[in-house]
Symmetry: C3
């Protein structure tokens, strides 16, 4: 058996011992860093520059020549120039014909120009194959090699072969290429590095708004009310007591908001009798940021736990404790153990602990490396079954905590309800509707709809296919 | 030097600007979602269907034709049909000859059929190259692009080239292909999405069983005993006091069970004088779920920590504190500081805190993204050295906590030992045996055995090579 | 359109249905494990060995023959032999000519030989293409398939095609190849598996040193001082009280040390007027271990939190509480609520809680899987903006905590300042300098320098290009 011959064939596409020359236009910060990294990985590099003097900043081993000369040396050219200076490339159109041009530029504002830089480049040099890539990597990260942040390089382009070529280079540099499709995606890719947690904006703004509202509500009832009617200065409640009321309320409301859109979607699907019609836009967006809503809720819950656990260390609480004991003694009155109170206190603590424990578990499974290691059935089991159990436990925790005050008139200062009651509205509604949806008379048609069945098939004729943009 | 010519060669296998047409049999939910995604990634898509009417649900840009016509257009055909309907494919055998058929089907039960769907398909169309893939991805995930759960696509097949082709498509769709070997692996791959945490079953069932046992044990001693003999109602102990006894006990027992199989394996290897004989099956399985055992133990330990930290907030504990102080005053008796008690109390708390801290550290290093970034020496240092230190600290925590009660007869209600004593049996045994194994007279031969040395080489002749199934 | 022909071309490089034969020299532990794994993945495997008797340990399906015969069967040969026995390979030089030799060996000590094993192999067999790979994978991991630790396989070599071939095999075995460049990198790759957290050495040694110093400082002031002057035995402070002073001090000092090098670097760049001159070595190293410093600081902060939360459970604290209440009653003296004290106590707790919460958030974003999913702007926002906020909160926490004691002479025992004051020096200095650097007169030139502007361009002529070794 002639094994060797097969092998030589397998090696054929890469039979030369050297990598192909790569050209970089521009000797700025990023161009040099990229050139340095390419040389390290075994690529011969030529720089195209206006001044062909070899500066000491140019990485060792690279040549500098005029743009035209450099372009002729290589089949792939990185354009490490700012968009404003692109227009000189039109004069090189002939030399650049058929070459792969890699647009690595970034803008300083989101949607700064009508078309993306890469599309603009493709218009300027129509004969070239333009690929967008590398704009998410910083020069500093390339230089230092400490790629703590993303190793992902988004790549897009209209020419498959050119894109493949660029993706191979990305891989050889130790980065992970992600094909984002045609050059139309360049706009999104150019906006990406300018984004600051776009999915987190809504949850964070919402919780800031709610925090402000509840803060002033609590301030009125807990600080201003006793000051006005009892002349007592409880201003120090601002540090711990009031935040420790706001945090659990927000945690519970946000957790409820995580499960509300799912319930709404089920109602809409049942009403429409089909899953092939798009949800309203607000519902779509809401569903996409459920993970972020849940994690913000978990953050509030964690702070609530810490605030609660330091209670016995607080100077005020220690004073109150000794004050009570002393007054009991002075009045010569000893209280027996109130078993009902012990039950209530212990059970709301236990419910809270178990709810928080499950909540942390949900948070851990939402870590990318963990969720990548479970299958769909497991992921949905955790996020749906365990998620609802968490919601039930946390709602019960709040109900038991406040239970005894519902009917006590003194807890309605200024005719306003105690603040924790607000937190119960959404979770209780979600749980009630979810409970109704479990009944077979509703669950069965819903399951069928979700498997593709349609009550009125004519609907689908009018509808458009559900197209969600691919997640970047 | 003619650079361009080299380059053209490098591009040759992909020289056309378009991807190859892909065919999908079946216009169901998954077929359409897959077609949509393929079109997004630049593949021309044709659907093979019984009815060739273009429905509005078919993704834009795709053609629908008869099965035979569609199959002729492409070299790769996704079979998005349920297994029950596979048999019509036999009539297309001639057209399908030499084509790559991708079986993406799933079953509704584990091991539903005698052979896997992919093998069944290969039997039906013997001339085709069957590849199993994509069954772990859900239609919804493909549609919405929010692949929160696994991006991993398990691929298997007997034809290397066909498998390679499918793996390339997987990569271009932004997913991660994992080669699982020949078509024999299809059974395991088809069972995979039906699994619900298979590795966690044993640890969770074990801890449920132990929890039940210890719950009734504690109920008898802590609630029923005082009710019977002292007419006191401590039923509220069920909420916190009893769980806070069960959790640390289970955490310690399970942590002991993590290190017990390693110790047993060492004894077996020392006794046999070789590492080339397979361990008994139960030991193999036990060793494979050590990570899960440890994480369940960590969960119990975390709940124990929370339960312990809320102690001073409990209504019962506050009542007890003030009751004690009041009775001290009424009896006009002041206790001086008991330094021994202070030492015992502080040191068991400190041991517990340090043990828990190391335990959490172990948990963090078992996160996939963390353990992927350490080398073997580091991984074993953390899991073995730090792991034993955790076990020692936690055992010492329990010993110091209970130390003073060992010899007090009143703690043996109904002649039964206090419940925490049960938790000490396994960890203490593990630590004693491990301590013995460290002695050079045992450690040296063990190290040599683990490096491949055999005391009685004839053994190995009879033994089979250790084959553990590759982890899915 | 003749689709099939295009397809056949696409398949060409892998047109045969079988993988190419792979040869392994050496039938030791690793050789057999590797052979087993290769056979599982569909490679025909031949072993080259001195004794050609097929042992029962050889994986089924593999052939054993003489080295010369085995080498002729394959284009790629794994050298699973120890370096000491390499010299016999010179006799096979002719047969090995043009073959790919994969050096998988490891040493037992860092830098054991003057040249790396792979380079030594390349010298012995100059006609072969030597590739270094697989040395970071353990035989046990290959055998059992439970690759809990790293799946990363570092690959280096001078021949691109040979390296590509080896990287393909790595991928097919389900591992992740990482190209580390030319064979010069072999030394670093061989040292890698012998390393034990090299980046953690400095932070851990530093914190051990500081811990020792502060321990004896606290011991003197808190245990020996009261023993000498008041004859009180507070030796039990060693368990919790003193560690709970050391932990927050170390956490704050180390957190300050995370941000100090960034401030120093800014000063150096401003002074030099360019970013193109290398930082002093100590600063470079310091900047590279900031993440580790921060995580060690987080560990100390977490232990501090646990130590603080158990305070009310401590026997000593409970005794002190009741002692105070009793003495209040006996002296018939009731204290009114001290609002200033309540404010101070509540605000230092609140500051600590918020600081710790942000600190944990920083820790979570430094998990590899999380930091891989954010872009640079987001990563820097978290690590810089949120990081400084954490530092401010934690410093404020310490300032408020100790505020009232600054001017009280009794807190200066033996004329020594209270220990927490030491912790404030570094964080306060960092915050003051950072505050100064924000002023536009300094911030503007710094920003320009970091974008590549130089005050005295002649500097750059003398300087060398900043070359940082790529992170392994």
């Amino acid at each position: 058996m002639n094994k060797n011959s097969t092998n030589i064939m397998a090696l054929a596409p890469k039979s030369s011992n050297k990598r192909d020359t790569v050209c970089i236009f521009g000797t700025g910060d990023f161009g040099r860093a990229l050139g340095h990294k390419l040389i390290q990985s075994g690529y011969p590099v030529v720089f195209g520059s206006r001044s062909t003097q070899t500066s000491s900043l140019i990485p060792k081993g690279a040549e500098v020549m005029s743009h035209a000369e450099a372009a002729q040396k290589a089949a792939i050219i990185f354009i490490a120039i700012q968009r404003q200076h692109y227009n000189f490339l039109t004069s090189l159109a002939e030399i650049l014909h058929g070459k792969v041009l890699v647009d690595i530029s970034n803008n300083s504002k989101i949607n700064e120009y009508p078309e993306s830089n890469a599309e603009y480049l493709a218009q300027l040099v129509p004969g070239a194959k333009v690929v967008k890539a590398f704009n998410t990597v910083s020069a500093w990260a390339l230089q230092s090699g400490t790629l703590d942040a993303s190793r992902q390089v988004f790549v897009c382009g209209d020419d498959m072969a050119a894109k493949q070529l660029v993706m191979d280079i990305v891989r050889i540099l130790g980065l992970t290429p992600l094909d984002q499709g045609s050059l139309l995606a360049a706009r999104e890719i150019e906006n990406y590095p300018l984004q600051l947690f776009p999915m987190w904006k809504f949850p964070i703004l919402l919780s800031l708004g709610l925090t402000t509202f509840f803060f002033f509500y609590c301030l009125a009832l807990d600080v201003i009310y006793p000051y006005v009617y009892q002349k007592k200065d409880f201003s120090f409640f601002i540090a711990i007591t009031i935040p420790n009321k706001i945090c659990p309320i927000l945690a519970l409301i946000l957790l409820g908001l995580v499960y509300l859109p799912g319930v709404l979607a089920a109602i809409i699907q049942l009403y429409r009798g089909t899953k092939y019609r798009r949800f309203p836009d607000w519902l779509d967006k809401w569903m996409l940021c459920r993970k972020q809503l849940g994690l913000v809720a978990l953050a509030f819950a964690s702070v609530h736990v810490l605030y609660t656990l330091v209670i016995p260390i607080r100077s005020y609480v220690r004073w109150r404790t000794s004050d009570r004991i002393i007054s009991q003694i002075q009045n010569n009155r000893t209280e027996p153990l109130n078993t009902t109170n012990a039950w209530l206190s212990d059970s709301y603590l236990a419910l809270g602990i178990l709810g928080f424990f499950l909540f942390v578990l949900l948070g851990i499974t939402s870590l990318p490396s963990v969720s990548n290691n479970v299958n769909w059935r497991e992921f949905r089991f955790v996020q749906s079954k365990l998620g609802y159990l968490t919601l039930i436990l946390c709602t019960a925790h709040t109900l038991v905590y406040g239970g005894k005050w519902f009917l006590v008139p003194s807890s309605y200062k200024w005719y306003l309800p105690p603040v924790y009651m607000f937190s119960l509205i959404i979770p209780c509604s979600v749980l009630v509707v979810k409970f109704v949806l479990i009944f077979p008379c509703l669950d069965k048609p819903l399951t069928r709809i979700r498997q593709g069945w349609e009550r009125n098939p004519q609907y689908s004729e009018q509808s458009n296919y559900i197209i969600n943009k691919s997640a970047v």
